[in-house]
């Protein structure tokens, strides 16, 4: 009998901290994460970002697959895991080794929620992400479906094929398909909260109230962490390259 290898068994042994936010589109998590980054930098901490679906090499294939509608639930899942693996190896772990606070907008839970909503086996996708480091802090932005839908649909009416879950054939109408797909994803997220002990945030609260709460959540993890060298605290990567 072999031991089941699955996500959650690779603790973070490095000096850095990994903080991730999760939630459906329109939950406001990205706003919260960038406000957190600003504050952490102002406090003198080393901060790096890692975004979902951003590995330079893999992204071209993902984009092509999406554009030409080549992706099935299985290949959608695998290409995103490929992208994520590249970022773990080349971005996240090296930055954690270097003692940075790594902020990730979406993490493995996005895959668990989205892929399972597409019909992928829950156990299989959790095993797939075995190589992922467990975050120091994971926050789920909980928002009523209607609120999130209103935020998204009032701002950006053109939904992309996979984003709207059109590949699932839930509805021929992209907006209706999107609603049903997001609703399925939300059900999965709600199951992930107790399964992985995610911290939850009431994403209907005012932005600044949520931000204060997020800062309180991260504070206990900041005591033993290195500060950025003086003078570089406000400098972003782009500025350094310029």
């Amino acid at each position: 009998m072999t031991t089941l290898t699955t996500y959650g068994q690779r603790a973070n042994p490095y000096p850095g901290k990994l903080v991730i936010v999760e939630g459906i589109d329109g939950s406001g998590k990205s706003t919260q994460l960038s406000l957190l980054a600003q504050w952490l930098r102002a406090e003198g901490h080393l901060v790096t970002f890692s975004e979902w679906n951003s590995s330079p090499i893999v992204k071209a294939t993902t984009s092509r697959g999406k554009k030409n509608q080549l992706l099935t639930p299985l290949t959608f899942s695998l290409i995103h895991a490929t992208d994520f693996s590249d970022r773990i190896e080349r971005d996240i772990v090296p930055a954690l080794k270097g003692g940075a606070i790594v902020l990730a907008d979406r993490y493995v839970y996005t895959a668990f929620a989205r892929d399972v909503a597409r019909g992928v086996d829950p156990k299989w996708v959790r095993a797939l992400y075995r190589f992922a480091v467990t975050p120091t802090l994971a926050v789920y932005y909980r928002v009523p479906l209607d609120v999130a839908l209103y935020r998204i649909l009032s701002a950006r009416p053109k939904l992309k094929y996979y984003e709207a879950g059109m590949d699932l054939g839930l509805s021929p109408d992209p907006i209706e398909s999107y609603r049903r797909f997001q609703s399925r994803i939300q059900v999965e997220y709600e199951g992930l909260v107790p399964e992985y002990g995610l911290a939850t945030m009431d994403a209907t609260l005012p932005v600044e109230v949520q931000q204060r709460a997020l800062r309180e959540l991260i504070k206990p993890h900041l005591s033993d962490i290195a500060r950025a060298p003086q003078g570089e605290a406000f400098e972003t990567t782009e500025e350094r390259r310029a």
Binding site: S55, V58, T61, R64, I79, E89, K123, W124
Partner: protein
């Protein structure tokens, strides 16, 4: 009862009930002569009146271009490469292998999940993990493993040109030059394939024999299998 089964949970949304045909795998290290034997087998089966389709690593519509690009710069993480290959395989399973089986073809695949599992393990992947990743794959009807020692591959590979960077495992260099790394790397791959051969019950063919002898044995074994096992269990 279904004609085909998956190792694990299978492909999401894929009904296996309507699959027929046969799935034949030819496995073996780089330079062992797989292409020659796949071609010979294909010609033999077509002569007998079977419809034959073929696939092989990195031939997917979705991922072949990306993998080629990633190889050029060697700029992709090692585990990401494992998963990129898995993406390529999944796309070929869904878009090439399954449709061919549904149409009652003999699908010959030049390497299958086993070579991919072997190359991942050699690059440090946990064996249990990578096998779980590939658990959506279909169990083939038979796996023919062209078995050889790494040192015996050297003249065969050199006859075709200089050592290839990837076939020599130079992304994880295993020697001070391409020759040494090739021998060590292919040796590790063969070691893993040997273990998989025992685990999954490959039909091992001694690839040091004359090409004609190997081809005869392969063709006879496959023909026997095709006659013994009907394409579809329902007809």
């Amino acid at each position: 009862m279904k004609r085909f089964e998956s190792y694990g949970q299978g492909v999401p949304g894929l009904e296996l009930g309507d699959l027929s045909g046969w799935l034949i795998v030819v496995e073996g290290p780089d330079g062992v002569g797989r292409t020659t034997h796949v071609n010979r087998l294909r010609a033999h089966l077509e002569q007998l009146g079977y419809a034959v389709a073929e696939t092989g690593l990195t031939r997917s519509d979705l991922a072949s271009r990306g993998i080629r690009r990633a190889k050029q710069g060697n700029t992709l993480g090692s585990n990401a490469f494992n998963l990129f290959y898995a993406t390529d395989f999944a796309d070929r399973l869904e878009q090439q292998i399954v449709p061919a089986l549904r149409a009652g073809f003999v699908m010959i695949t030049d390497r299958y999940i086993y070579s991919l599992i072997a190359r991942a393990i050699v690059r440090g992947a946990e064996p249990d993990w990578i096998k779980q990743v590939y658990s959506f794959a279909l169990l083939p009807d038979a796996v023919f493993y062209l078995r050889i020692e790494a040192a015996q591959l050297v003249p065969r590979v050199l006859a075709e040109g200089p050592f290839d960077y990837w076939e020599s495992g130079m992304d994880i260099p295993m020697g001070e030059d391409l020759h040494d790394s090739f021998v060590n790397y292919q040796g590790r791959i063969i070691h893993e394939l040997d273990a998989l051969a025992r685990e999954y019950g490959f039909h091992t063919l001694d690839a040091t024999r004359e090409v004609d002898d190997i081809a005869d044995e392969l063709c006879a074994s496959v023909t026997h299998l095709l006659m013994k096992r009907p394409a579809s269990l329902t007809t």
